[in-house]
Amino acid sequence: MYALFQRIQQRSKKESAFVIGSPALIWQVIFFYLPLLLMMVSSIFILSEEGGIQGVTLKNFIPLFSSTHLTVIFSSIFLAFSTSLLCLVIAYPLAHFIAFKAGKYKTLMLFFLIVPFWTNFLLHVYAWFFVLEREGFLNTLLKKMGLIQEPIHFLNSIFAIILMMVYCYLPFMVLPIFSTLERFDRRFLEVSDDLGDSWLETFKKVMLPMTLPAVRAGFFLVFIPSFGEFIIPELMGGDKTYFVGNVVSQYVLGNETGELGAAFMVLSCLALVVAVMFIYFAFRKVSRMLLRGLQ
């Protein structure tokens, strides 16, 4: 062990970084890139019973260009985007509050943010069932307040899905924004104030542009897993709504539809890449818009 350590030290910085990083890299290759490659391969190659390659084909993709499949992809993008956007709207003020206003309760509030992660995911879902069901907390509350006569059907709807998604993914948005805001030097705000700017303009021209990279990171952290999420739609949406994750899992686990699942996964991956690129450029555009007026 010591000899290894010495060898690492002797190597140049670049090489030692490689040595230290290689276990993670090997893990990544074996459990992530290889399966991905296998999926891609099985989506375009015709395989014999023994596993030999007999030819290349795109026939698995043809049935996917139907309105049902494309709708699934678009509704997944819609779900991921609305989840991310809602998370952002909630997370930014929340992170701002924890970073600037919470004072000595900062650690406590972060603790409460993380605490749901410590309990089983299914428990969260059942807890939300109790809140959302016909005779549940929310309906009872609304009834008592006289806002509704008949209970509203909350469960098995897009509303329930998005609610659960936002609930689960919120910390991924809060944490990067919080860590950037915490390091944010308040003197930037004071300088802007001192130079004559209003607080809204200061937020637009100073705080938001400087925290935008964190917002973008949070956005992707929520968007990308939301796109492929299939447990939450399955549990909260009943069997009404289909998203990419559900379709892939159904095809892959189903009889004789493995290649179709692989092809659908490849297609949805492509759609995801396009969506992510689109969001990336949207962020660039936003950052330019915020600084409009400056040259």
Partner: protein
Amino acid sequence: MTKSQDEGVILNKINLTIPSGEFFALLGPSGCGKTTLLRLIAGFETPDSGVIYLGNTDITHIPVNKRKINIVFQNYALFPHLNVFNNVAYSLVIQKISKEEIEQRVIKILKAFHLENHIFKFPSQLSGGQQQRVALARAIINEPEVLLLDEPLAALDFKLREKMLIELIELQDKLKTTFVYVTHDQFEALTVADQMAIMNQEGDIEQIGTPQEIYEFPVSSFVAKFVGTTNILTGTLHNIDTDPEIDISHLGKFKVYIPQKKGWMFDGCTAALSMRPEKIYISKKPVENFTNTIKGEVSQIVYHGRSTQYNVIVNNQFKLQVFEQNEEHFPHEDIDYDDEVYLCWQKENALLLEN
């Protein structure tokens, strides 16, 4: 501009008038509340009681962004996501001034600050001195009535600091804007200030005056010790009205000079005698024509280049500092460790302070 406020324990009923159009330095030890005072003037904080006037206008409750006062922070706080041009243009853009005029004014000021080759650079690509100049340009481009500087040179090395001090003086001369310069560094304050105020640890102002007044005639031993170095000896005063002298126990009697009798002086009262090290003459032979002489032993010699510092022990218990200007390559006498020396001074060059 008059103000007096009571800011908890930080500032204790301060009443300070900063003359307009002058370079005013606020000097005090760390934590004396000078930065708080600056933040009050800028408007980042409001006084618990008291009023702040700018000219004849009460600005105590005018928000920061409406005050014609700008500040340069110690770490400059240049916007890292904006280039030099946009940093400097920031306050002009807010005012919806035409693009052409903004460009003209920004380029003009950047040229004056020798930054014309760095217009499109970002703050992280600039050196400390350049960042400092960008921060200055950003603060003065909008022609404030008062420019506040919060230890603006603290992050620079000594040579650059000296250069920037001179640039600041020239800038103030040209603009005639009131500069308020906060620092804990007496060298900086003495260099730049037309007038300066000395604050003590309790947040009170001890003395206001020109650098020369403060250095040569400090009103208290705190000021004498804080600005420059000094030797303080305490003793009892005698013969105030005829031939005043101070009796320092274990050391003897020394002639003192009282140009004007102060309220606290009476025969037999205790007083502190403050002697600047450079005002004491050191020699191995007794020297005539000095009103006071004392004998001691050299315990330490520190060579500073332009001067040499001798630490002299007198009567085995008093340690006095003496600075000797190195006017020639070699000193007029070779003074070495443990040499017996005579320290001489004129009574007019030592100062009596209330103990």
